[in-house]
Symmetry: C2
Subunit: 138 residues, 2 copies
DNA sequence: ATCCTACGATGGACTTTGTCTAAGTCAAGT
DNA sequence: ACTTGACTTAGACAAAGTCCATCGTAGGAT
């Protein structure tokens, strides 16, 4: 993750304790935290960090393309640091667990020209829904 | 849409002026209104209808499978009366316009078994994003 | 090493979207 | 027409997020 910090500094990002902490919290695989969860974890490392700063920083990371915003449920947006390998999400309908998955094929190609209504289509989001092994066992 | 009202009455739905108005507002193709928009239109036909009733009625229609809930942006949920023909959505990134589309292929089949992590996968949501002809022209 | 200053952080008010509740109203069966 | 339980209402409440005026500080300039 220090590569991330290096890259950001290279782009003229001003480095602050708050931004460093937010970046640290987002480190790892299969991380899909809400803004409030990011804030809660950041507070343990830097007690005076404010919610507004967490929101601002997450927004900047999204703009810079370093973090993806995903909304798998209709509650809070979640932030996914796995922005450099295209992937989709698999969500448990019961507990809300999220896994990154990599389907075969290109879903963009599945939309025929006569179903595009003149739109320039540039992206597609796919969310698979089901029940995870934990919840199915219970 | 009066078929809808008939069907609901057949299922033991108590018919009220409020429910009738909500069902009327949702009539049509390519209708994707937010709850507040439904309320705003309902008020023009029945001034004393309350927001809570609109939310309740929309929720019931969703439970009954007569209306779909879609969240194409991260703001309000939208309600789609086109619940009987499976379809996906194409969204303009600029103006938010939404079209129903019918892609070829089955996106569920694109998720190989070894990417399912033991989940029982039962549904998939696909949202295409792009720029509509109106916004592209501007 | 110290100073400057523009960029970043803060917290609290505010907005949007949605849920809940207690009390009143009414559709539909008898 | 009466009764009853389902439906509706207004408003309080909650969660998620944005905005703004003010304060603080990172990092270049001296």
């Amino acid at each position: 993750m220090s590569d991330l910090l290096e890259r950001l500094r290279g782009r003229g990002w001003r480095m602050t304790a708050q931004r460093r902490v937010v970046a640290e919290v987002l480190d790892g695989d299969h991380v899909h935290l809400t803004a409030d969860e990011v804030h809660a974890r950041a507070v343990t490392k830097l007690p005076e960090i404010s919610r507004a700063t967490v929101y601002n920083t997450l927004g900047e990371l999204v703009t810079l393309g370093e973090v993806l915003e995903v909304s798998t449920d209709r509650r809070a947006k979640r932030y996914d640091p796995n922005a450099h390998r295209p992937h989709q999400h698999l969500v448990c309908a019961q507990c809300g667990a999220i896994r990154d998955v990599h389907p075969a094929g290109d879903p963009l190609a599945d939309l025929p020209a006569d179903e595009r209504f003149g739109f320039v289509v540039s992206a597609v989001e796919v969310t698979y829904r089901g029940v995870c092994p934990n919840c199915a066992g219970a």
